[in-house]
């Protein structure tokens, strides 16, 4: 595409799920770069998954270079005309074409603006690798590249775990500790634990992309020797850990409570997060059954994290 005229004309059409393929084909006739389809969806599994709702329309979008405004308007009109014929082909009705001018941005760089340096608790600082930060004495700086693994620091469940880890460190409970990080994502919690005093961290995630991200972020922080990452869920053997970190969701914490407890030495501590406030009581019950005594509880917005000691 030769044009980088500074502006693009966005064409968007609401379409019944049944007509999405046809609408997308029509828009792609005038927009060579491709189309996007945004379906209506419902969250399922505590927000872990999304299910497309075929009863509500999807939005199909395409972008035409608008350097020549007239040509862009003609493209939009052509698309609108072709779309007008669709109902003749037996597909359910679709909405009108709406247009909007979108300004060119340096797309390769612009996303970075969404990731500032953030401070969590008193001394933990999450620093995207491309940002500068002048650390104060005592700051624990985690250098991170956000990407395809959960745990950028922008979500309360992550921040609550960091606060809990700092709380443990303040009580000396991370000094020389062996830590298990279940559902490690980007590795942010493993890195925090290591920087707060842990001598060894075993990080697991069922998603291989997360395991790669953890290894890469550990290396960025000079912690490749301290953090070992592997694909999997809660281990079922080995020497019990001093600390277990589990930023999951309530239903998983309930199901895994016995397995998580089994990985803790006596008087070891689990930090559990990802709990929607109205699910806290379920987690408490499951933890009590697994001989995990809940102590401190932290909350931010609708989210709760807690620490519990194994009896």
């Amino acid at each position: 595409m030769a044009e980088t005229s500074g502006r693009w004309l966005e064409l968007s059409v609401e379409a019944d799920v049944e007509a999405v393929e046809a609408v997308s084909e029509i828009l792609s006739r005038v927009a060579s770069g491709g189309t996007t389809v945004e379906p209506a969806f419902d969250l399922v599994d505590e927000g872990l998954d999304a299910r497309v709702d075929p009863g509500r329309p999807s939005v199909v979008r395409a972008y035409v270079p608008a350097g020549d405004r007239g040509a862009a308007e003609r493209a939009a009109a052509d698309a609108a005309e072709a779309l007008g014929h669709l109902q003749a082909f037996g597909l359910r009705p679709i909405g009108e074409v709406t247009t909007r001018l979108v300004h060119e941005a340096d797309w390769a760089e612009a996303w970075k603006a969404h990731f500032p340096v953030i401070r969590v608790g008193r001394r933990i600082v999450i620093k995207p690798t491309w940002r500068r930060h002048r650390a104060k004495a005592g700051d624990v700086v985690i250098a991170l590249d956000p990407g395809m693994a959960f745990g950028t620091g922008l979500h309360p469940t992550t921040r609550l775990c960091l606060v809990a880890l700092e709380w443990l460190a303040d009580r000396g409970r991370l000094d020389g500790a062996r830590v298990l990080d279940v559902g490690c994502g980007s590795g942010i919690l493993s890195i925090a634990a290591a920087k707060l005093g842990a001598k060894g961290v075993f990080a697991v995630d069922t998603d291989p992309i997360a395991v790669e991200a953890t290894a890469a972020n550990a290396s960025r922080n000079g912690l490749s020797e301290v953090i070992r990452a592997g694909v999997g869920s809660v281990p079922t053997d080995g020497v019990p850990f001093d600390i277990v970190c589990a930023n999951l969701i309530a239903s998983l914490l309930v199901d895994l409570a016995p397995a998580l407890a089994a990985q803790l030495r006596r008087d070891g501590t689990i930090v559990a997060s990802g709990i929607f406030a109205d699910r806290l009581s379920e987690v408490r019950v499951a933890f009590a059954r697994a001989r995990l005594d809940v102590g401190e509880v932290w909350d931010e917005g609708d989210w709760v994290a807690l620490e519990a000691m194994r009896r």
């Binding site: 595409m1 029509i26 996007t36 379906p39 979500h155």
Partner: protein, 140 residues
Amino acid sequence: MAKKIRIVLTLQLPAGKATPAPPVGTALGPHGINIIEFTKSYNEKTADKVGQVIPAQITVFEDRSFSFILKTPPAADLLRKAAGIEKGAQTPKRESAGRVSRDQVRQIAETKMADLNANDIEAAMKQVEGTARSMGIEVV
């Protein structure tokens, strides 16, 4: 990890050749995800399919991390292939761009069944057939 989904989007892109230009930048930019990581990963995974359009369904989580899976090619591409044509008719109501059989429509519907959000194969075939007719491809 306690992922929470912010949005789900499907991008129809040229395999192996995605760039941060629209629609990628305009679709993903507002959600603040790492666009370079997406295009790099998409191009790696689709490098063996250059020349085809391979949709990527992207899930953006609340903390701006994301994941994506590849989908089957658009019905239009499969129809063009089945009809042995380069592109659809300019005025589909008047001219014919090519033809496909009902069996071919069924095959395409079966290939795309999982991605069409259709209740049954008949409904999926209706979508494929509607797309064919709007492209000026006759179903015979």
